[in-house]
């Protein structure tokens, strides 16, 4: 009998709650009876919420429509006002298991922006039913996975070319030719660059976004892996021509490369520290470390150092394909630096005003 009572009352409670405060305001008798019955049952029902008197929690219902067909997919009910959009997404995932939360894009209007996961349901509500439009954002992949795959590829691909697989290069020529030391140095530098990136992804960076569509990963990987194959082919070719200015050019470029790598690393550590300590209120400041002094001149020194690495690598190997790759990286990094610089200008106006985005003084 208690079981039967247990099953009937939640519906009754839900019914009243669904009609919002309207019923309870006009039917005070019903409300007091409801409270009384609640009291009686709360002793037996361990799972009841500690709602005893004045139980006016208005649960919301979230109606989810497909953005293209406007058809209703499902209704998520019993959404408490203090929950966030992420909770709604989890409930939606339970109802429709093929769409896990990171893949779900919810908008208030059909052409509006996607709502953030941290948004409170209360702030969206105009009535007790909230209508949201659902878009399938496609297969998602976490940022860590994204970067790990993107950086492991070039590391391995370059080594494949370095060991001079017989299918790529003519074996006879490969055995005959003496390899200039710069080829070994280039391999070392290239591997160093990507190993550093991988270690930073694993131990240093803290990703705020969470996920990115699979398509982005495929595009990024195609770009990095494709270009690495292209540059590795020429540097490790039996007919490779060493730089025109000989050892001086190589040593100078190698030094510049190592400096930029160290700089990049320290900047990333500094940015991660800042994220970690939660001190996002001010622009990262230079410390005793000379590599971080670039913060005084430029707002995105990590991009500056990355660009510097690739340009030094180009000079070190004197290979046109590396130059083309470096040029494309410069363009990409400049776009990212400009975007970030604009964000910084909005947030930290007085400090960042006289700084350049990526290249000191110039840009």
């Amino acid at each position: 009998m208690q079981g039967r009572q247990k099953s009937s009352t939640p519906e009754h409670k839900g019914d009243l709650a669904a009609h919002g405060g309207v019923l309870s305001m006009s039917h005070n008798d019903t409300r007091s009876f409801f409270n009384f019955s609640q009291l009686g049952l709360s002793t037996g029902n361990a799972k009841s919420s500690p709602v005893l008197k004045h139980s006016k929690i208005t649960y919301f219902e979230v109606e989810i429509l497909d953005v293209h067909s406007k058809k209703q997919i499902c209704i998520v009910d019993k959404v408490s006002p203090s929950s966030t959009l992420l909770d709604v997404k989890h409930k939606f995932h339970k109802a429709c298991p093929q769409w896990y939360p990171s893949r779900v894009g919810l908008q208030l209007e059909r052409n509006g922006p996607y709502l953030k996961d941290s948004i409170n349901i209360q702030s969206l509500a105009v009535s007790s039913i909230i209508t949201l439009y659902f878009t399938d954002l496609g297969q998602q992949v976490s940022w860590t996975t994204f970067f790990l795959i993107e950086y492991t590829g070039p590391l391995l691909i370059y080594l494949l070319f370095y060991i001079r697989l017989s299918t790529i290069y003519d074996q006879l020529e490969s055995k005959k030719n003496f390899r200039h030391p710069v080829v070994h140095l280039a391999c070392f530098c290239h591997c160093l660059h990507y190993i550093r990136h991988l270690l930073e992804t694993l131990f240093v960076h803290k990703f705020s976004g969470g996920h990115t569509p699979l398509k982005n990963m495929i595009k990024g990987c195609a770009f990095y892996w494709g270009f690495t194959s292209w540059i590795a082919y020429y540097i490790n070719h039996p007919r490779y021509t060493p730089p025109s200015f000989g050892h001086r050019q190589v040593s100078f470029a190698a030094l510049a490369f190592l400096t930029c790598e160290a700089g990049n690393h320290f900047i990333n550590v500094a940015l991660a520290h800042q994220n970690h300590s939660g001190n996002k209120a001010c622009f990262p400041s230079p410390t005793y470390n000379p590599f971080t002094w670039l913060f005084l001149l430029v707002s995105c020194p990590n991009y500056t150092y990355e660009v510097g690495s690739w340009i030094s690598f180009t000079v070190m190997t004197q290979t046109l394909p590396v130059g083309i790759f470096a040029f494309l990286m410069v363009i990409q990094m400049s776009l990212w630096a400009q975007k970030k610089h604009k964000q910084y200008l909005k947030r930290f106006y007085p400090e960042v005003r006289r700084k350049a985005a990526m290249i000191p003084v110039i840009f």
Partner: protein, 246 residues
């Protein structure tokens, strides 16, 4: 390749495309400039068409007609590069990348294949794509002219969205056959190719590049073709509804 795709989005903006952002139309000065540009281009391609007909009548055969229209073809096809600037400056609401891609493929065929490999100029495939381009461009530029002046005759719109069904495959076949014919000559002369070893550690094989270009037609052509078919259904059915409602 038919550059007719680039204008499709432009025309459709007035026909209820579902873009929430409102694109500002070009100002009066820009419109005047565009009208002049499109009229000049229409006239130019008409000159090429007339030149072809006259040469055919004079020679009696349709072989080697390329030589009679070589100069205007080069001039007006290269002039289409201005369209990329139009998109970049925003006076034409098309995507820069798409337009650049289409114009560059035409310019590539005109200069890097037909002009550079002289032995190919007497091939019949050249006539095939020149005719396809001529008819397409005349219709396309007159379409733009009339729509800028807001007096688009249905015939031109119909022609633009229907004739491509024949002209586009015709043009693509002509282009592919021309590139294929050019291959042995490129291999023989080592045209535009660099080999190792050299100071900048770079190599480029034009022969392989041309083969890759030919292969790239396989994914790209169907996409553009079906896109145009889709546009056709959208635009021509819209007009019918419009007419019915009147």
């Amino acid at each position: 390749m038919a550059a007719s795709g680039s204008g499709g989005s432009r025309a459709d903006n007035g026909y209820g495309s579902q873009q929430p952002r409102r694109r500002k139309g070009p100002g009066a000065l820009a419109t005047a400039y565009l009208v002049i540009y499109n009229v000049v281009m229409t006239a130019g391609w008409l000159v090429i068409a007339v030149g072809l007909v006259r040469a055919y009548l004079a020679k009696g055969s349709y072989h080697s007609l390329y030589y009679s229209i070589e100069k205007p073809l080069k001039f007006f096809q290269t002039g289409a590069l201005l369209e990329i600037l139009h998109c970049a400056f925003g006076i034409v609401p098309s995507s820069v990348v798409l337009t650049a891609f289409q114009v560059m493929s035409r310019v590539f065929l005109t200069w890097a294949v037909t002009h550079s490999v002289k032995e190919v100029q007497s091939e019949d495939s050249v006539l095939l794509f020149v005719v396809a381009w001529t008819v397409t461009e005349i219709i396309r530029y007159s379409f733009y002219t009339f729509s800028l002046l807001n007096h688009l005759p249905y015939l031109i719109k119909w022609a633009r969205y229907t004739l491509f069904i024949v002209l586009y495959p015709m043009g693509v076949s002509g282009e592919l056959l021309t590139i294929y014919a050019a291959l042995p000559f490129v291999r023989q002369s080592g045209l535009y190719s660099i080999s190792l070893p050299n100071e900048y550690n770079f190599s480029f094989d034009y022969y392989t590049f041309l083969i890759l270009v030919m292969i790239s037609y396989i994914p790209i052509f169907p996409q553009l073709y079906f896109h145009m078919l889709h546009q056709r259904r959208k635009v021509l059915s819209h007009t019918e509804e419009h007419k019915k409602s009147e």
